[in-house]
Symmetry: C2
Subunit: 117 residues, 2 copies
DNA sequence: GTAACGTACAACCAAATGGTTGCACAAACT
DNA sequence: AGTTTGTGCAACCATTTGGTTGTACGTTAC
């Protein structure tokens, strides 16, 4: 089990915001499989190099992607660690939901009229 | 197992965008536990009623929350179904990552020099 | 050394976001 | 009936976003 670095609201904002764009999600998907330079990525989309470069910067700022220099290129790699962190966030919501169910179950275990939904 | 309604890019955009705001995440958290009217929610945050109402509208548009009328009030309830759908999306990325690992493992199972990271 | 390539960054622009106030209207209370 | 409460919506505003082009600069190739 990895130490769960507590994410600030701002960091969580950045993660979900970064994921809220189809191009950026595609970049993550792509670089989780094979790392690619920024210009390689850029050639895959119908927009300017600068636009793609900005998307990568957003992803990097959110920690969803890591850039390492190689010669004149910057190699982009998806960061599964951060994906897992995002999953953990959503898990929390699931847990909240489940604990509510548990409480209701406990309550209904006694008796009372069937709830109207 | 529930039929996995295929989400469009635009829908996924809306889900993650809705989650990219601390106030909205808090509304989801809150209404997963206890449903609340819009004005009840509004009283919990340091912003105008209209602002909170807009946040709720964004969440509703993303399907993360459901509103049902009760008298003059609109009762807001978190939608665990959609949360799960978001989780499923992130799971896909995890899978992509894992399948990459598998491929690398298969490759390295043979022989070859140890990779430089 | 010079040209080409890959990246970063600034300036600019249109559209979207997140907040505000004000108004309209239906439901509930007196 | 009249007032209060809860909601929705429009108009407005500042800021952010997502795109563009242009420029600068380090790295690689000739």
């Amino acid at each position: 089990m990895v130490a769960q670095t507590e994410l600030s609201d701002a960091e969580v904002d950045r993660i979900f915001h970064a994921l809220a764009d189809a191009t950026r999600r595609d970049i993550v998907r792509r670089t989780l499989t094979v790392e690619a330079s920024v210009s390689e990525l850029a050639s895959a989309y119908d927009m300017s190099f600068a636009a793609v470069q900005k998307h990568v910067a957003v992803l990097e700022g959110a920690g969803l992607v890591v850039k390492k220099p190689r010669g004149r290129e910057r190699i982009v790699r998806g960061n599964p660690e951060q994906i897992r962190r995002a999953q953990a966030l959503l898990d929390r919501y699931e847990q909240i939901w489940r604990s509510r169910i548990d409480r209701l179950d406990a309550l209904l275990a006694g008796d009372g009229p069937s709830p109207q939904n």
